[in-house]
């Protein structure tokens, strides 16, 4: 089916961004309202499309819109085309819905910032780019949105770029993303070289004819792209620093939407991964590594936003794991993505609300007992917390446990390993999230008298309440009668014939719950029943120290990439000036030197010139002599 309204989804926020950026300070007064309106109207278009889709039968739901012929050279034909299907509409609603809520939240959160209008321009731009990412009907269109959100992320992380560390964090995010982008562009190149097309439809159609090797290569490259954007191992290092951006940004971009783009990419490319088992296994392995990696970092962080960021990394690890489990896991990956979008965004907004009340303090060791001062924040944050650790019937329970279950049932050693790791992750998640909640809201107050904690204004808590509602109900809603699974089936493939299950859903749930209780218990003992020092203790085990240093991810990057890179740069610079340019200048010097030597023959005495003429004449005559004889 074709539709003419797809383009408005993107055009409206893009228009908002353009107007706000071009109008400059003139739009300071109304910029935030305008930006929010643009985002909201995009949401409205999304809802309209969703309703339209609901009215169609399963196979007819996908809608396309071809705008124009974008690039056309020889057999390389790419249209600027949009595609909304069951998968993209989930994202569209999440992006525009959560996006609009965060716009509203930001009106209050950023009200004291002189550049609020610019902030809204960037947010609008992000919404447009993210929508392009999920709506593009080919890998190349997706790529445009892919880098667009990277740019938006760069701009928003560096929103307060007068602080050098923030500017550095923005740069780091962009560069790490670029490494991933390199993977994506290589994937597109391989796809074109093997399949002759880069559109989703075309690749899907031809994929089965391609060799497994090529498909594995494409899959691995797509995975590289996903690790960059979704902060997965080994390109995860940027996410923690990205918390330099304003908190609404962390909520929208670095929790709910942009960082999940990798999951979208893998799910969208299911037709490739399903034919390339090795690549699919790599996806699952990366997911497991990251979910543990993030969880471990999360235990050690005192900065509330960084703790949440580590949690995000870990949760996306779950999604990637789900996506790496094949058709059985795609739907649950997406479900976890959506529920995570609600509860993590809500928690980030809660963190923002706490910071708002605490003079932008982020160290949880300087919080404590805030539940009395911020009841609404506490309530919404608490609901999100229950959702993330997977307490039934909150959202996380439905989505996360399903992923664990599918992992266990993936078969053989692989299934047991992946499943156990995911279970372990669930326990750690319970521990560190409990730690966050206790440190922030429970216990005794540890802030100094300058802070005057207070509840945030209506415009801030209203979105939090709505998101909390989502974190409570969404899981149930999605999994009731496998509604989301059925909805996505035409895109990601259907149920496989159920093999013998290793563990039944009930067993997994019980196991998970037990582990969660253990994790929560540990946290309560350590942080609620014991005194929490205001300054992080330094006499800790080496493991804690390593965890606090983000498991040495920055040290690794510095030692392996940055320092050698700098050395190469310096070496090449020296080589350029001494060797290459040196050779060039050497030619010049040789000419001058030779000239200096030859110049000594130029005595200025006309008689010596005459002598040389004579010598020349001798040479001439001698030549004639030799030649004629």
């Amino acid at each position: 089916m074709t539709s003419n309204s797809l383009v408005y989804l993107i055009a409206l926020p893009l228009f908002g961004a353009t107007v706000l950026l071009l109008a400059g300070r003139r739009s300071d007064k109304w910029g935030h309202i305008f930006g929010t309106l643009m985002s909201a109207s995009s949401f409205a278009v999304g809802v309209y499309l969703f309703i339209q889709m609901l009215g169609n039968s399963d196979g007819q739901r996908a809608m396309t819109q071809k705008l124009f012929n974008w690039i056309s050279v020889g057999s390389f034909q790419v249209d600027a085309g949009l595609l909304v299907d069951q998968l993209s509409i989930c994202f569209v609603l999440l992006i525009t819905g959560v996006g609009t809520l965060i716009h509203i939240y930001s009106i209050a959160y950023m009200s004291h910032d002189l550049d609020r209008r610019r902030f809204f321009a960037y947010l609008n731009f992000f919404i447009a780019a993210m929508l392009l990412l999920v709506l593009g009907d080919s890998y190349l269109n997706l790529y445009v949105g892919w880098e667009g959100v990277g740019l938006a992320s760069y701009l928003l992380i560096g929103f307060w770029n007068q602080k050098p560390t923030y500017a550095t964090a923005a740069k780091k995010a962009f560069v790490a993303n670029r490494v991933g982008d390199m993977g994506l562009s290589l994937a597109i190149m391989i796809a074109f070289a093997t399949l002759g097309t880069v559109s989703f439809d075309g690749v899907k159609e031809h994929a089965s004819h391609a060799s497994t090797g090529a498909l594995t290569a494409i899959g691995i490259m797509l995975l590289v792209a996903a690790t960059g954007k979704s902060a997965q191992f080994p390109l995860q290092a940027w996410l923690g620093d990205a918390m330099a951006g304003p908190t609404p940004v962390s909520a929208l971009i670095h929790a709910a939407t942009m960082v999940t783009a990798g999951v979208y990419l893998i799910t969208r490319s299911n037709f490739i991964f399903d034919l390339a088992p090795n690549a699919q296994l790599a996806v699952a392995v990366i997911g497991v590594i990251t979910l543990l990696f993030g969880a471990i970092i999360g235990m050690a962080k005192d900065d509330i936003k960084k703790a949440l960021a580590a949690s995000t990394m870990s949760q996306i690890g779950y999604m990637v794991l789900g996506a790496g489990l094949g058709p059985a896991g795609y739907a649950f990956a997406i479900m976890h993505l959506l529920t995570h979008g609600f509860f993590k965004a809500g928690m980030f907004l809660g963190a923002g609300s706490v910071m708002h009340g605490m003079n932008d303090e982020v160290n949880m060791r300087r919080y404590g007992g805030l539940r009395k001062f911020m009841p609404i924040t506490f309530a919404t944050f608490g609901l999100g917390y229950l959702a993330i650790i997977g307490v039934p019937p909150f959202a996380g329970f439905y989505s996360k446990d399903k992923i664990i279950e599918v992992a266990f049932n993936a078969g053989g050693i692989k299934g047991i390993t992946l499943g156990s790791a995911a279970l372990l992750g669930a326990m750690i998640t319970a521990f560190y999230m409990t730690r966050v909640v206790i440190l922030t809201f429970a216990g005794s107050k540890r802030w100094d008298d300058k802070a005057h904690p207070h509840e945030s204004p209506f415009l801030m808590w209203a979105p939090m309440v709505l998101l909390a509602f989502g974190s409570v109900a969404s899981g149930f809603f999605f999994s009731r009668g496998d509604s989301l699974k059925n909805w996505l089936e035409p895109v990601v493939g259907g149920h496989m014939a159920h093999e013998a299950e290793l563990l039944s859903p009930a067993v997994v749930s019980i196991l998970a719950l037990v582990l969660v209780v253990i994790g929560v218990g540990f946290a309560i003992i350590k942080y609620l029943l014991n005194e929490v020092p205001q300054v992080a203790p330094t006499d800790v085990t080496v493991f804690t120290k390593i965890a606090r240093r983000d498991l040495l991810q920055d040290d690794f990057n510095e030692a392996v990439f940055m320092r050698p890179g700098q050395a190469i740069t310096r070496g090449l610079q020296t080589a350029d000036t001494t060797l290459i340019d040196g050779a060039v200048r050497g030619v010049g010097r040789f000419a001058v030197g030779a000239g200096n030597i030859l110049r000594t023959t130029q005595t200025g005495f006309v008689r010596s010139y005459a002598l040389w003429i004579l010598v020349g004449a001798i040479g001439l005559v001698a030549t004639i002599w030799v030649v004629t004889l």
Binding site: T603, F605, R607, S608, L611, L614, V615, A617, I618, V621, A622, I624, W625, T628, L629
Partner: protein, 260 residues
């Protein structure tokens, strides 16, 4: 013809005699020209070489060229040389010690090599073994035949050379032209200078040589009113040669006078 050559490639004996007398003389003169110190002597030796060549020309049936050689070269060009030598200074003789290090040995070696090469080349060449002679070419007279060539085949070169001559003449004039650096002094200026000078001694003009002197000759200085010889009255050239004859002061009888 009765004076037909006896053997192919041989001319008549008198020419050989001429050649063997004049040839070595010319070479010797040329060598001398290079060796002698004084430029004037060089010029005279060169003139001798040129005259020898003129005779050679005539001997080789180039009558016109022989005459021209004498008239233009030995006559005009050599006169020009001598004239310039006079202008620049006859007596200027250069020391024959070489100032540029290493030039002379290289030059002599090079010249010997060059000459040797040339001569061996000529020796190897087969020139003249069967020479044609100019008897036919000069049948209507040497001058007429040359003129025929000059005004037909070589007329363009001839015209160009004439233009060159004019240009050279003009160029010589331009080069020799003396640019005035200061305005030409008028008579008035000269008079002023004479009387405003450092002394009035020359105000009345210099005496000619020999005035009031013992002899009325150019090599005797004039006597000033006080009886002393005026050295300034004699040409500097004579003085430099040491050809001044008598410069004794004239002993005047003492006359009491306070006048100055």
């Amino acid at each position: 013809m009765m004076h037909q050559v006896i053997e192919i490639g041989r001319t008549q004996t008198p020419e050989a005699v001429l050649y063997w007398i004049l040839g070595p003389l010319a070479v010797l003169a040329a060598l001398g020209m290079v060796v002698v110190k004084k430029a004037v002597h060089s010029a005279i030796l060169l003139a001798w070489v040129m005259i020898s060549l003129a005779i050679f020309y005539i001997a080789q049936d180039a009558v016109f060229l022989g005459i021209v050689q004498v008239v233009v070269y030995t006559g005009a060009v050599m006169m020009l040389f001598l004239f310039i030598l006079m202008l620049v200074g006859v007596e200027s003789s250069e020391s024959l010690t070489e100032t540029i290090r290493g030039l002379r040995p290289i030059a002599i070696v090079a010249a010997l090599g060059f000459g040797g090469l040339l001569i061996s080349l000529i020796g190897h060449a087969t020139l003249g073994r069967s020479f044609v002679g100019l008897t036919d070419a000069n049948a209507g007279g040497n001058v007429q035949a040359l003129a025929g060539l000059l005004f037909s085949k070589y007329v363009w070169a001839f015209e160009v050379v004439s233009a060159l001559l004019i240009t050279a003449a003009l160029g010589a004039m331009v080069l020799a032209h003396n640019h005035r650096i200061i305005a030409r002094p008028t008579q008035r200026d000269l008079a002023t200078a004479r009387f405003r000078g450092t002394s009035l001694a020359k105000a009345a003009g210099l005496p000619g040589p020999g005035v009031y002197a013992l002899h009325n000759a150019v090599d005797v200085p004039a006597l000033l009113p006080d009886g002393t010889p005026a050295q300034a009255s004699i040409s500097a050239t004579l003085k430099a040669r040491g050809d001044v004859i008598d410069s004794r002061p004239f002993q005047l009888s003492t006359i009491e006078s306070e006048e100055e």
